[in-house]
Symmetry: D2
Subunit: 333 residues, 4 copies
C-alpha cells in the first residue's frame, strides 16, 4: 500500500499534537512538511521531527511531495486554506470549525461540489472515539429501538481568557452538534438556550445549556461548562425505546488513595481523545488511499455552523429558534 | 417518649406499603387503624396487621385513639381529607400531589394559616433519601460553590395504562419539582417543555423533557420517561462552580453473570426508596412529638403544583412560560 | 408488641455507639441502663440519654427492669459477663470476640447447652449488612451455582498503637471468619498465612494474608491491612460456578471535584456499618420477643476463635494448619 | 525510518490475529510471509492478506526478505524455532510459553547469551496494556509507597476441552506470573496452591488459587478460573503502603437494558487485549529498528516457567514450595 505524505499548516497546540501522533507512527502516513505563521515555531517542529518547514501555506499546499494537507491554523484562515487545497486537488483535513461564517462554509461546499469529489474532512475526531463508536453500533444493532433523548455534557477545567458567553456556544459546543448528528443520523431543526449565572472562577462568561430537537423529534440537551475546575469531562447518554447506552468516563485504572476511591480527572483534554485523533488520521489516510472518505464532510462542518447560528439567536432572544436548513447536494448523500 | 398512633386512609399500593413499614417497626410510631373506600381491602389489611378498620374517613380522623393521619387515597380526595384533618387539629401526611388543583391547594394553605400551626406534610419522601441528603450536605458544606445545573432523570419500566403525555408531566415529574426546590432552596420561575416521539412500547403517550430555571438562574433539566423498559431509575447530578455531586444508582452488590457485569434494575420502584419512606415516617412522627415539623410543607406541595401548571402550559404552547408565584405566608418561612 | 428494656455494659466506642443508635429509636427496644468500669464515663452517657447508670455489671445484669444485656466491655471480660447473663437467664449480645480464649468460649457453650436455650448472640453485625445479605440471597437463589472462591479485603485507615502482627490476625480478621462461615454455611478446615513487610506508616506490625479452605473445598482468601491510609474499606467477592456477586463499596453519591471523580473513603469505620448495627439491634430484640434467635450464636463465636487459633499457628510455623473442629451440640443445629 | 518485514510461523488463532493486526496497519511493520504446519491454512491467510506462504519454518526464517519472525505455532515447537531464529541472527517474538520445559528455556538463554545480543521477546502482551502500564507508572511515581499485595483474577468464560487442573496452572496462569514480575520488578520466590472443587460446567478440572511471595515479601494471589461462564475477565489490584491502584474492567460504554445496568462481558478474550497486542507489535518493531529491546525477554519467559514449576509442585504436595532461582546473565541486567 502506498504511503500518504502529509503537510501540516499551523503548528500551535493542535497542529503540534497531530505532528507528534504522526511521528509516533501512523500506518500509511508520513509527515513531510510543516508551516506556521510564526516561522520559528514551524522550524522548531520541523527540526525536532526531521521534516521540512515550508515558506508559506501556498508553498506547502502546492509542494508536489505533499499528498494531503492538514489545516490547524487559526479559525479565520480555515476557509481560505480549504479552498486552496480544493483548487490544488488535494485532500484536506480542516480542524473545526470548517469556517468562520456560514457564508464561508457555503463557498467551500460550492467549490467541492464544483470539483466533483470529496476532498474536505472536518476534524470532528469524536466520530473515531471508541465510546461514541460503540454508541453508534448499539443504536445500529436495533436492540435499543429508536432514539428519544441524547444527554450531553462538555466540561473543561479552565476556559481560556478570551472565552465569552457567546464563544461557549460558538466554539465549545461544536463537537456536540456534530456527534449528535452523527449518532442520530438526521438534522437538528430547533434550538433553545438557557444560561445559569457566571461562576466566581470565570465571572466574565456564563455556562450554557442548549436544548435541541431533531427532524424526527429526538431531544438533545447539552451542558457546556468551560470552567468546571475538577477536570476535562465529556459525557453522553443516548436514551432509546428499549434501553440506554452511555459513555463510561473511567480510565484504565482506578485509584484508592488520600481519602478517595475513583480516578483522576486531568485538566488536559488531549489524553481523553488521543486514541480518537490517531484513529482519525488512520481513517483519513486509508480513505485517501482507497478513495472512500469517512469522517465529517464539509457538509457536516457546514451543518454544525448552522446549528451554532440558531443557538446564538436562541441565546440572544430567549426563544426557540428554527435551524435554517438547505438542500443537501448529491455529493454528500 | 410518647408514641404516635397512626391511622391510614387508603390501603392501595402506597397505603399498604406504609402500613407494612409501620408493622415492621418504626420507633415512636404505631399503626392503629386503616380505612379504604373498598371496605374489604381495608379489612384485609386490618386483620393481617392486627389493627382496626374504620368505617369511613371521618370516623378515622375523629377517632380519639388516632393521633395522626396518613392520606393515601386517590388524588382527587387529598384536599378534602387534608382539610378535615386540619379541622380536627391532627397532623396529616398527604401523599403527593397535595391536591387535584392549585385552587384546592390554596384552600389548604388558607386553612393551615388560619389554624396557625403546621399540620400538613406532603409525602415527597425523596427529601429523606440518603443520596439526596448527601447532595444537600455537599452543597451546604460550601466546598462545591454555588449551584449551576441540576440534571434529573426519572424513568419507570412500564407506565400504567391511564398515563397520558399530560400526566407524564402532571404526575410523574412532581417529585423532581420538589427535590429541585429542596436542593436549591429557591423557587422555580420558568419552564420549557420538549417532547420526543412516543415509543412502540407506549404509543399513546410521549416521554417529556422539562427545562426549568430558578430565581437565581440555576438550570434544572428533567427527563421523564415512564416506559424505559429496563427498570426504575432515578438519577440526578448537581453541577456547581467547583465540582459536582451525583446520585450513585448502584445497589449494595454487583453481579457478574450471563454475559453482564453490573447490577439489576428492577421494575418495581418501591425498593429504591424504601429507606426514604421509612425515614420519612420516623421524621414525621419525631417532628410531631417535638413539634418541629420537617419534610415538605403544604407550601411545598402547592409550589410543586404551580410548577406543574407552568409546565403544562409550556407543553401546550411550545413556549417558555413563567411560573405564577405568590407571596409565602409567614407560617412557612 | 412488648418492648425490650436493654442494659449496656461498657460505654467505650462500641457501647456508646449502640447506646446512640438505641436513643435514635429502634422499634421494640429501649435503653434503660448503662454501666462502665469508668463510672464517670457511664454517668455521662446515662445523663445525656436519660437512663440509669448501674453501680456495677452484676447490678445491671440482675436489675429486674433490664430484660436483655449488651456486653461492650474489654475483650477479657466478655466470657465472665456472658456466663453471668446466662446464669440470670437473660439474653445477651456480646461484642466480638466471644471470649479471650477458646477454653473460655467452650465454657460459654457448655453453660448455654446446660441452660437448654440460646441466650447468647455475638455482635458479628455484618450478617445484617445489606450487601452481605444480598450476597447470601444471590447464593441461595441458585442462579450462581455452587461457591468456589470468596475474596475478602479488610482495610482500616490507621490501626491503633497497640496492634501487633498477631492481633492483625486475632482481632481484625474475626469478622471475615464469621461472614465466610455465614455465607458459605460450612466450617473452615485449614489455614495458611503469608505476611508482606511492615509499612513505613506502621513499622511495628505486618499486614496479613490468610488463605482458608472450607470442608467442601471453597477457597477463602483475606487481606487484612490495618494501615491502608486512604480509608476504611471492606470488600468481598463470592465467585461461583455460574457467576460472581461482590460488595459494591460506593456510597449514595459520587463526587467530582479537585481533580477526582469517585467517592470519599472516610477513616471512621462506623458509618459503613451503621445500618447493620441498627438492623442487628432490631433483629436481636425481635428475636427475643418471638423467641427465634437470629444472628451469630455462641457456637459461631467459638468457631471464629478456632479459626483464629489455626491462623496464628499457621503464621508462626509458615505451614498449612488444620482447624481443630469439635462436634456441634444439638442446641446449635 | 526503515520498515521491518515480518514472517509469521503458525497461523492458528494467535498467528491469524497477529496477521490481522499487521494487515490493519502497524507503523514500521509489514507482514510479508506466513507458514503453518497445515499448508492450506497458511495459504488461505497468505492469499487473503496478499503475502507469501513459506514452504516450511526454515524457509521462512532463512528468507532474506524476512527481517523478523513471530512464532505462533504449538507450544512444543517454540524452543526449537526460537533457537533457529537466534542462529539466523533474526529477532523473534515467541508466543508464550517460551518453551515446553525449563531445560529448553535454558537452552534458549544459553544460545542468546552466546550470540551476545537480545533477539528473543516473549509475547507477554499485558506489559503493553494501558491498565497495567498505568499501574506500573502509579507505582513508579512513588505516591503509593512500597507494594504489599497484588491481587490477580484470571477468568475465561469456557476453557478448551483439553484443559486439565495441571494446565490451569501451567498454561493459564503464565500471564499473571510475568505481569507480577513486571509490576513488582523482582523475583517470585515461593508458591502455595489451593484448589476449589471442579464445577458442573467443567467437571474434569479444578479452578486454582495460587499464593506467591516475592523476594521482598510482597504477597501475590491469583485466582485462575477457566470456566467462569459469564465472560473473559482479567482483574488486578496492587495494594501499597499509601493507596491502591486497580484495573478498571469497564469498556468505553455502559448499557442499561433488559433489567441490567452495566456492561457486557464477552467470552472472546481477544478484544480485551487487542490494543496491547498492537502496542506490543509496535514496540517490538520500534525496538528492532532502534536496537533497544523492550517487552519480556527470554529471561522473563524462563522465570515464568520456573514459577510454573514451583506452583505445580506446590499443587501436588500441598506445601509451600520455593522457586529454584538461578543467577541472571549480564545480558539481561
Amino acid at each position: 500500500m502506498k504511503e500518504i505524505r502529509i503537510g501540516i499548516i499551523g503548528t500551535g497546540v493542535m497542529g503540534a499534537d497531530h505532528a507528534a501522533i504522526l511521528a509516533d507512527g501512523v500506518a500509511n502516513a508520513r509527515l513531510v512538511a510543516v508551516q506556521d505563521f510564526d516561522r520559528g515555531r514551524a522550524e522548531n517542529v520541523a527540526v525536532s521531527l526531521g521534516v521540512r518547514a515550508a515558506a508559506d501555506a501556498d508553498a506547502l499546499i502546492s509542494d508536489p511531495d505533499v499528498d494531503a494537507v492538514m489545516v490547524c491554523s487559526p479559525d479565520g484562515t480555515h476557509a481560505a486554506l480549504a479552498l486552496r487545497a480544493i483548487a490544488a486537488g488535494k485532500p484536506v483535513l480542516v480542524e473545526k470549525p470548517l469556517a468562520a461564517s456560514s457564508e464561508d462554509a457555503e463557498a467551500i461546499i460550492r467549490a467541492e461540489v464544483a470539483a466533483g469529489k470529496r476532498l474536505v474532512q472536518v476534524g470532528f475526531m469524536r466520530r473515531f472515539d471508541a465510546g461514541y463508536v460503540e454508541m453508534k453500533q448499539a443504536l445500529a444493532s436495533g436492540e435499543l429501538g429508536r432514539p428519544l433523548f441524547l444527554h450531553c455534557v462538555h466540561r473543561n477545567a479552565v476556559g481560556p481568557d478570551y472565552l465569552t458567553s457567546e464563544l461557549v456556544i460558538a466554539n465549545s459546543a461544536g463537537h456536540e452538534f456534530d456527534i449528535a448528528r452523527y449518532l442520530l443520523d438526521e438534522e437538528i431543526t430547533s434550538a433553545v438556550v438557557a444560561s445559569p449565572p457566571a461562576t466566581r472562577n470565570a465571572p466574565n462568561r456564563q455556562p450554557q445549556f442548549i436544548l435541541l430537537q431533531t427532524a424526527s423529534g429526538v431531544v438533545v440537551d447539552i451542558e457546556v461548562f468551560t470552567d468546571a475546575q475538577y477536570g476535562y469531562d465529556v459525557r453522553a447518554e443516548l436514551v432509546c425505546e428499549d434501553g440506554t447506552v452511555a459513555l463510561d468516563p473511567s480510565p484504565a485504572t482506578t485509584l484508592r488513595a488520600k481519602g478517595h476511591d475513583g480516578f483522576r480527572t486531568p485538566a488536559d483534554w488531549r489524553p481523553r481523545f488521543r486514541q480518537a485523533y490517531r484513529a482519525q488520521l488512520e481513517a483519513w489516510t486509508a480513505g485517501i488511499l482507497t478513495q472512500t472518505p469517512s469522517g465529517s464532510s464539509a457538509w457536516d462542518g457546514y451543518m454544525a455552523m448552522l446549528v451554532t447560528k440558531a443557538c446564538l439567536q436562541a441565546w440572544k432572544t430567549g426563544n426557540r429558534v428554527a435551524v435554517e436548513l438547505t438542500a443537501k447536494p448529491s455529493l454528500y448523500q
